[in-house]
């Protein structure tokens, strides 16, 4: 009886993907517990975040793609307006203008854009799929550049680059010609020195410099990288054991429950643990790309593909940053780091992926 009642509730979830996500969330809970120092309050709040995010995923999986497409343009426009609002009236926290005061609460519109931007691009390509012309790529690029530029200006380079990446994935999967790709890559390469001088803030330049030589500033920006690299390296093959990481538990690791949680994991579970974690991520991405390829609509294929590849990008950038091969950008390790917003965004994304893959019959192409 109950089962029959519940079955339609879960009908749009993908079993293998859900299983893999659950495994990752289990790993997350184990590591977060160690990272927050057995603080049960924070553990409960972590579990609550997971619960909320899973519910959001469940809900998202039920949204029919057509409804999603209807929402796309309004959501994008609202998001863009909010970003404009931030640029004009935003409040400054920690030196960057990211938040918008809404009387009762503050919101960070850039979070909305993480999904809204690829959605908008996928929608655009879907809309134009019968009559796709060269200039459509330019329009698409503009649709992407607007929010990315506004976010970069806040300044929040990490988020803007990751949103740019998600938009790029739509363009790439949407068939952006190789000539343009290579040309753009060359242009970006040529523009890098200029961007370095004119676009990057001092602290952003410093982060890159610190990456190249962390010892140049061991007490300042280099401290994070030095300590996290020590944590990872000293984990060795098998790790120091759960709850036994000295870098973690003696307070040497900064941001250890959020952006640097991978260092905690690495220190306590070693190379074997890292391999296990990489395999879970790879499996999630594999299954995600399978689902994306199986989506009946172009909108679905493009959006799902972009969401999954963005998920990969987050994981890669975070682990690369913690192990000292990428500059420190404020990116959490998706589905592992403590923190509700990221959890919510990522699982909602996977809910959309599942929805786009499972609403076959409802979509008429």
């Amino acid at each position: 009886m109950i089962l029959r009642f519940l079955k339609p509730l879960f009908s749009h979830l993908d079993g293998p993907l859900l299983g893999l996500l659950a495994l990752l969330l289990l790993v997350s809970t184990v590591v977060v517990f160690s990272a927050v120092g057995e603080n049960s309050e924070r553990l409960v709040s972590h579990l609550t975040n997971i619960g909320v995010a899973l519910t959001a995923m469940l809900l998202a999986s039920h949204i029919p793609p057509q409804r999603l497409m209807q929402f796309t343009l309004p959501v994008y426009i609202v998001g863009l307006s909010l970003l404009l609002g931030v640029a004009l009236f935003g409040i400054v926290v920690n030196g960057s203008r990211r938040w918008l005061e809404l009387g009762i609460t503050r919101i960070q519109p850039s979070e909305l854009m993480r999904l809204a931007a690829p959605m908008m691009l996928a929608w655009y390509f879907h809309y134009k799929q019968e009559t796709l012309r060269g200039r459509d790529y330019i329009v698409a690029a503009l649709l992407l550049v607007l929010p990315v530029g506004l976010i970069a200006k806040q300044p929040d380079l990490g988020t803007s680059l990751l949103i740019a990446a998600s938009g790029f994935y739509v363009l790439f999967l949407g068939g952006l010609p190789w000539k343009v790709l290579i040309g753009a890559a060359a242009a970006v390469g040529a523009a890098l020195p200029l961007a370095w001088n004119y676009l990057l803030h001092d602290y952003q330049q410093q982060r890159v410099r610190t990456l190249i030589d962390p010892a140049s500033d061991p007490l300042g920006a280099g401290y994070h990288i030095i300590q996290s690299t020590i944590a990872v390296g000293s984990g060795g093959l098998t790790g120091k054991g759960w709850m036994a990481g000295t870098q973690t538990h003696l307070d040497f690791l900064p941001e250890r429950s959020t952006d640097f949680i991978f260092a905690v994991f690495s220190e306590e579970f070693g190379l074997i643990g890292n391999l296990f974690l990489l395999l879970i991520y790879a499996a999630i991405i594999w299954r995600g790309l399978q689902l994306a390829a199986g989506a009946p609509s172009l909108f679905g294929r493009l959006l799902s593909g972009a969401i999954v590849l963005t998920f990969f990008t987050y994981a890669f950038v975070n682990m690369g940053m913690v192990s000292g091969i990428l500059p420190v950008v404020g990116v959490p390790l998706p589905l592992v780091s403590y923190g509700g917003t990221s959890m919510l965004t990522v699982l909602t994304g996977f809910g959309i992926v599942m929805s786009l893959a499972t609403h076959k019959k409802l979509v008429k192409t």
Binding site: T131, R133, G134
Partner: protein
Amino acid sequence: MSTLRLINPEQEFQRYRRRMEIAGICAVLLFLGLFSRFVWLQIAQFERFHALAESNRISLVPAAPSRGVIYDRQSTVLAHNFSASTLEITPSKAGKLDDTVNRLAEIVAIETSDRKRFKKLLAESKNFESIPIRNLLTEEEAARFSVNRYRFPGVEIKARQFRQYPLGAGFSHVVGYIGRIGEKDQQRLIDEGLDTNYKGTDHIGKLGIEARYEAWLHGRTGIEKVETDSGGRAVRVLSRTAPIAGHNIYLHLDAKLQQVAEEVFGDYRGALVALDPRNGGVLTLVSKPGFDPNLFVDGIDSATWHELNTSPDRPLVNRALRGVYPPGSTIKPFMGLAGVELGVRTPSYTISDPGYFALSGSSHRYRDWKKDGHGMVDLKRSITISCDTYYYGLAHQMGIERMAGFLSHFGFGRKTGIDLDGELSGLLPTPEWKKRRFKQPWWPGETVVAGIGQGYVLTTPMQLAVATMAIANDGIVYKPQLIRAWRDAATGKMGYAAPQAMERIKLTPAFLRLVKEAMVDVTRPGGTASIAGANTPYLFAGKTGTAQVVGIKQGAKYVESQVSARNRDHALFIAFAPADNPKIVVAVMVENGGHGGSTAAPIARKVIDYWLLGKLPKVLAPAEPEATPAPDEVEDHGPVEEPHSADTAITEVIPQ
């Protein structure tokens, strides 16, 4: 690019699949790159990062050893340690220092001197070191701070060991004191490779026994392996090597005898040295005035320092070792021995003393202290009555070189080698020396005055004591030693300092006996110290001396009452007793004390009476002379320069 193209959905899907495969391969490659980074960090570089993580969490905390205790020969404590609470600030954790100190002052008493010292220490220390703002907290103050502790991050109560000198000023020149390790000390420790053993130690011996036996007193610093968090807080102790306390040191010095000597000295300035002639042990070493060594332990305040350093009484100078004075007539027994041993005189050779001596062809008269002369004087009588004329002639005939050659065996003109730093060597002049020093030839008249211990001849009280020991010991000179024994804290075993014979002077027994008898006669009726020597139950051998501080013009007369107090003659006395079996040798020098017989000899007599008979001088009997100050009464003082930085010595005006 602007051409319209129709897209075949099948073609479109194929392209999408291709692109997705490319993306997938890229993702796999990037993950492989990440994995190889992990392999590099966790396998190839594991040792390095493991070591870094260990050094992150493990810090080695030095555990300072407790400093050895200094005892006298009766095991009376001369220097010891006690624990007390200090209030300390770690500047790196405390925020605004001035504000912190001001708020602390509302809870515990913080004097201006405390603030000054704190500032000075602050300038010398590193930011993460804990610096005392108040020493010797009372229990009440400690309790008051504990209640308010949360208001003061970076401020802590610590238990520290303090050094105390319970007998105070009278022993400052022997025991010395410790003080904070200064830059120079630090450099020396580094040069000697001892700096690691001083991690965790704040103080070092600066003077006296504390300085000389620093290596023994300090002990060996222990090490605690402590796990610390990133804030440097100790989480737990992983292992511990206990510190080994310094050696306890037992001196030959007798605190009671020292106090007797101090007391009988009264308000005079001067020095008294008492040696055990059988082994060279220093029984007493008094230099008056002294100073309270406790003032220096935690830095003396500048006003007190200035007062001590500029006082005309010069309390910081150890007169026994660094005060150089003309020996005056105390040189006569040695001169007399020289005369007979060198064959310049026979014991029976007699002069008729007219009250002066003159060199042939000169009208200059070298006057005897007795205007009309002593009449017929032989060797023995020359000592007993201290006849100057006898020695003028003897010195002239002997010549300055032979005189210096003989006297040097008794230790004149060179350091005695006592186990204290800073000793001066005095002066046994020779023509060579004068040429080197003044580029002038030696005049015969200078030999004449040297014969009665005036002129260029300079000795320290310690040298006089050592030379007297040579007579008392029939020619054997031991190196004067303060240290008698030590207890090794690690093994618990006692070690004993062996007497060190520096010189075995070959002396003819008959001549020696004669000089000794003459010296005994000095303290008998007719001798120059007959009053001081009255009614001794032992044989009391001595020799008086009076050293001129200013030259008296030819034809003028020295009238004590007409000479200002600081230009008055120095009174000297050397002695040993019992003369037939000497157990103590004494040398007394009383600055501006007038006559040796009337001022210096009674002091020596009282010291010897106490040593041989246990007789206390009236002022001291029978109560304890000084109460030991309780820790709470000891004040702490602001920091200043170390004393004895300049090469200070008392040099006298040499008479014309």
